[in-house]
Subunit: 336 residues, 2 copies
């Protein structure tokens, strides 16, 4: 049996067995955006870590050091955001090939430090080492949250409204431009590239939502809406129905799709790395939550569907025709 | 300017600037075995992380998956030990090349889990991804310690006795056998290989020492005695004199050195990856500390020298002749 047979999530389930040697104080182990555990204070600790590997997650010639540093930290902060937490400490491990210029490395750390500054995160340690081939960056982030404000993937209930905190699919369109070598010759395409290269973690959004009554489950959209919603559906043992017409698609993505003959719906459903938050909230509180969000951030919280009890994910079109959604997001080991 | 010009420690100093965006609650940032910071409890959090890269830190064909997993976690636990802490949570990131068998991966995680079990460490999360070339493992470990028991590198004072918790140089001899492809055809050589492949973190030793009055600075011997003692000397702004005759050299290493015409002293001074603890303690308490150590672990705590005020590291031989010690341990970027 090989990794390709069992896929990333099969492999993670395989790892999971025997990982808990001391269950007391553990609120969330493997299987959510971040781990949650008690030390001895009132606050719960959150930990998350992400590994970025050259030629898998990025092409060195296609990304500036600053963007790479920003992104390496941002994807971790996004996981803390998806737990409703405040990010506090970051730890950076980096394996450096001989071909990597010191100036590029300086840029990487500057990109991290600038983002860390924005969210009052301390970079407190890490590891530096040599690599024979690819540049590899691992960032681990520690954060905190009050126990009654943790947002897990397993708390959704039938009847909940499904929200997301920003547009979907833009990052995937930006990646398409990079992979195809298409020049970004209009402001619209340039904007899509920027979304892909410099994702912003929705930490403030996550904190507001976590402290607002009625918000239940959350995850960040890293692998794609269908895949990430699939995690909520699976962990919460519920179903979900998404309204196609309500998926937030940017004008930039519409422009891209017209020009290259693509489907905005497909990009919104399956495009990864948007790092918006996907959440569910009690229907009774949904209006107040959306209002609080708009008043805090000056932009809408998008209601895109409803949690059901069907154990399936479905898409409803304008005419209320229902088609099943396949969790077709990203799996690192089941590559075509 | 390139990385080779400034070396690993020059690069770390370069990274350090601008990493602290929120100094309150930070007891130790970049530059010790682990970071130390307060959340909101009585205990201080410790965090450390180590990146192991194929063809730099290990050769896949020369190490079993179990040993690799054990070692990846052990080197991190050793850093928590060197801060006087208790290790609590581990986070494992792994980038997997296509050539890596699932059975080998299972072994890696089993090696980690077996060690985690020994020290009641929970593996609570991580990241799994694909790699185009080398197998890469990053482990991050969270631990705790009471604030008044933290052992840093900067607390040594002139007059302190320098101790170490185990033999020095064995691991380097084991590595030599692997690199030269020399068969381990005697129990002595086999034992050296085992020390290299399965280092044991001195967590219990660290806890005992941290809670014993008079123990001041500590570091784990990962790069080699001369290099790691150099960190204490630099961070504490002191000097050190090591007594050559008192360096603990195992019978196995003596056997190896006789057979291959090597110098035990050189291996003890510069051999890395022993993962014993190096510490300094007030001279008045030294006897009681050594006694407490022996009674707890049934083996000696080795007094190997003295902290001085010279700002230099020196070696004293049997006839009390003094020669300077060069911090000639491992620097990842200044490779020959």
């Amino acid at each position: 049996m090989s990794l390709k047979d069992i896929g990333e999530f099969g492999f993670i389930r395989r790892i999971q067995r025997g990982c808990l040697t001391r269950p007391e104080g553990v609120l969330q182990g493997i299987g959510d955006d971040a781990a949650a555990f008690r030390t001895d204070g009132r606050l719960v600790s959150l930990m998350t870590t992400d590994l970025l590997v050259e030629r898998v997650h990025f092409l060195r010639h296609a990304i500036s050091g600053w963007d790479l540093g920003h992104k390496s930290l941002a994807v971790n902060l996004s996981d803390i955001a998806a737990m409703g937490g405040t990010a506090r400490e970051a730890f950076v491990s980096i394996a450096i090939p001989e071909s990597c210029e010191l100036a590029y490395l300086d840029e990487i750390f500057q990109g991290m430090k600038d983002l860390a500054q924005t969210y009052a995160v301390n970079i407190l340690g890490g590891d530096t080492t040599f690599s024979r081939s690819d540049l590899v960056i691992n960032v681990a982030v520690h954060g905190v949250v009050a126990e009654n404000e943790i947002l897990t993937r397993s708390a959704a209930r039938p009847g909940d409204v499904i929200f997301c905190t920003g547009c979907l699919g833009d990052s995937r369109a930006g990646l398409h431009l990079i992979l195809e070598g298409t020049p970004a010759d209009t402001p619209e395409l340039e904007a899509l590239l920027t979304v892909h290269r410099r994702p912003w973690p929705h930490l403030r959004e996550g904190r507001l939502l976590a402290s607002t009554p009625g918000v239940r489950a959350a995850i960040d959209v890293s692998d794609g809406l269908s895949s990430d919603l699939g995690h909520i559906v699976e962990e919460s043992r519920v179903g979900a129905r998404i309204d196609a017409a309500r998926l937030p698609v940017s004008d930039n993505l519409r422009f891209f799709c017209r020009r290259f003959g693509r489907s905005p719906l497909e990009y919104a459903l399956s495009g990864g790395e948007d790092y918006t938050l996907l959440l569910t909230a009690a229907a009774d509180n949904a209006g107040r939550i959306a209002e609080a969000f708009r008043s805090a951030f000056g932009r809408p919280l998008h209601a895109i569907g409803e949690i059901t009890d069907t154990l399936r994910m479905e898409l409803a079109d304008d005419a209320d025709r229902i088609t099943p959604i396949d969790p077709s997001g990203w799996d690192h080991f089941k590559r075509p």
